[in-house]
């Protein structure tokens, strides 16, 4: 193997500098501020601040609302990921099997991705609105009283559907690309050997798109945990009774609306630790099962 050696000690640092500066200014510095803030108790105007050590953390771990938020976030992230990935794989397989008009369907299915999360949220708010929405009207005809304003289950279902819907287009694109890169000869050979469509899907197609699936798994979990903020804000605002109050929303509400910076800081630090842990788990263990 041929190795190139750069004699200049400074050049690599210079080339890295812009990226390092950005990482420091936009990531390390604010993260350090959040960590520092989480050890303080401060009034809103910042006139008085006291160092309280771990108190903000102990308070959080002692608070049923926070533990509820942890649980809601976990269930929410898993539901959104399964729903959006499962459904888009189904659509991708369907489109992949098409000989004509696959292009048209692909274009149509990608459209929702162009909708801003807040707009999507408002859209679903209208469709599901118990008073003026169209869906509760139909559900009422079949005897189901939809009311996400007071029913926790309905509200949770609403934010899961709205968030998953938003992500389906994105997943779909990647799945279609993944499916199309599988050589047709492999599937044909299996078919000749007598493997049915289901068998072919699970033994050939699925393993071959595992890199795509793994990538999407990471992206979708991050999406469900962070990017769904706007959907929640415009549909349920975390309610009713905390049923849809995922962690990012709680950080925002306690910090910006409630002006409780210490607690909000501690929450974002915990959130950061969770993301780090998830990343480690995904790349250490899940990625081992991926065939490139």
């Amino acid at each position: 193997m041929k190795r190139t050696i750069f004699r200049n000690q400074l050049l690599p640092w210079l080339l890295l500098a812009p990226q390092l500066a950005i990482t420091f200014i936009f990531f390390i510095w604010p993260a350090a501020q959040a960590v520092w803030q989480s050890f303080l108790r401060e009034d809103a105007f910042g006139m008085k601040s006291t160092f309280v050590g771990m108190e903000n953390y102990w308070r959080l771990l002692d608070s049923p609302e926070y533990l509820n938020s942890l649980q809601v976030t976990a269930v929410f992230a898993v539901s959104v990921t399964i729903l959006s990935m499962g459904f888009s794989l189904l659509l991708a397989v369907a489109v992949d099997r098409m000989i004509r008009s696959a292009q048209t369907y692909t274009t149509l299915l990608v459209w929702p991705y162009a909708v801003a999360p807040a707009v999507a949220g408002i859209l679903w708010w209208f469709i599901f609105n118990p008073t003026i929405g169209i869906l509760p009207y139909f559900l009422d005809q079949v005897g189901y009283d939809w009311n996400h304003i007071s029913d926790k289950g309905d509200a949770f279902l609403l934010v899961v559907i709205a968030s998953a819907w938003k992500q389906i287009s994105y997943n779909f694109l990647f799945f279609v690309a993944g499916l199309q890169s599988i050589p047709a000869s492999l599937r044909e050979a299996a078919a000749i050997d007598g493997a049915g469509p289901v068998k072919r899907f699970f033994t050939i197609t699925l393993p071959l798109i595992s890199p795509t699936t793994f990538f999407l798994l990471v992206v979708n979990i991050v999406y469900a945990m962070f990017d769904t903020f706007a959907v929640i804000d415009s549909t349920t605002e975390g309610g009713p009774a905390q049923a849809t109050n995922i962690m990012v929303y709680k950080v925002y509400f306690d910090g910006f609306v409630g002006q409780n910076l210490g607690s909000s800081g501690a929450q974002s630090v915990i959130l950061m630790l969770i993301v780090i842990a998830l990343t480690v788990i995904q790349f250490r263990w899940v990625e081992k099962k991926v065939e490139y």
Binding site: R41, E42, D43, A44, F45, G46, M47, K48, T50, E65, N129, P130, T131, I132, I149, S150, D151, K152, E237, G239, P240, A241, Q242, F253, D254, F256, V257, G258, Q259, N260
Partner: protein
Amino acid sequence: MKSLFTASAVALALSAMSASAQTEVQWWHAMGGELGAKLEEIVKGFNDSQTDYKVVPSYKGTYPETMTAAIAAFRANEQPAIVQVFEVGTGTMMAAQGAVIPVHQLMKDQGAAFDQSAFLPSVVGYYTDTDGNMLSMPFNSSTPILYYNKSVFEKAGLDPNTPPKTWAEMEEFSKKIMESGAASCGFTTGWISWIQTENLSAWHNQPIGTLENGFGGLGARLSVNGPVQVKHWGNLKKWADEGIFKYGGPVGGDNAPPMFYSQECAMIMNSSASRAGVIANAKDFELGFGMLPYYDDVEGAPQNSIIGGATLWVLSGRPDEEYAGAAKFFEYLSSPAVQADWASFSGYLPITQAAADEMAGFFGENPGADTGLKQITLNTPTENSKGLRFGNYVQIRGIIDEEFEQLMSGSKDAQGALDGVVERGNALIEEFQAQNQ
């Protein structure tokens, strides 16, 4: 939105032209839409009336957003001289000693004309310290009233000119309306926290917390789980189960007005300031106004309702001439003509007696427009009906909504839900006390 852009473009162009002669006074506010346009008009009136100062209004979003923006700006030393803060932010603002200049002091320091006794006691009482000094300038104060559908009342065989006075009548009328098929629900409400908890307590002369509802100091604690409040929440749950009452959602209750406009519910309790909106949407039926209902077996009821809306706070750390401008502007703002104009346009309450008198003609032409004013001045405010002042109250309002939702979904009873409000709310108040002591 469009008018806002034009207005700010005009403001920008003007500020570019007028250069150094005038002192600019920044005013951050939360009045969007038509109220925002009216506010700009009022400011223009002031700017045109003299040449020394120029008040520059900027719209900063919702009440919480405006308050947050001002606090963040203060921390960055970029604060405006005047900021509009909603009533539940009062506790936070007044605890921020050194960050705000109390209005009574501003007016005295600047030698401006200021007579505190000219203001309506129930309006100004909310914003005074324990010595009775005014801390912020009332601008837009409202109070909840009852709106009802006269056409539905007539169809149900009820007298369209008699709104229900008591909660017993509320139930009785609702049942009649539902049985006759005139509407499918009796009533709904905006603001569970403000109307069905805080105002309910004041209206029945019941305390919300200790130490004069928090006016007495940071050591106050919530006590909103008293018998009257428990009875009322219990009734609301019972009525919800019977379909008499429909819940319109947390905070302001976004889903409540559509139920009233679509004639699904015959009555709604909401802010007097939503009057213009209600009139605009009540096209297919005749509209009636009434006071909030009360329980006639509670001694002292009805007392007086309490206000909502916002006041103007003055932030410290600006050059002195800006404060002279702010004081001049407050003089103008509380003048009877300006107040009467604003109140007639918006449905907010006039803040001074003189402005209320000025509106006599308007009230004569618009029956029911004075309901809020009558209700808030019904009796001299007591310790329990003066208002409330607790730290972290923005979050406590969120807790009230959540516990009410627990009640509605059946996971808690009224006593349990209100005990939950007290317990969780007090934890936040204790935290606030620790932060500010």
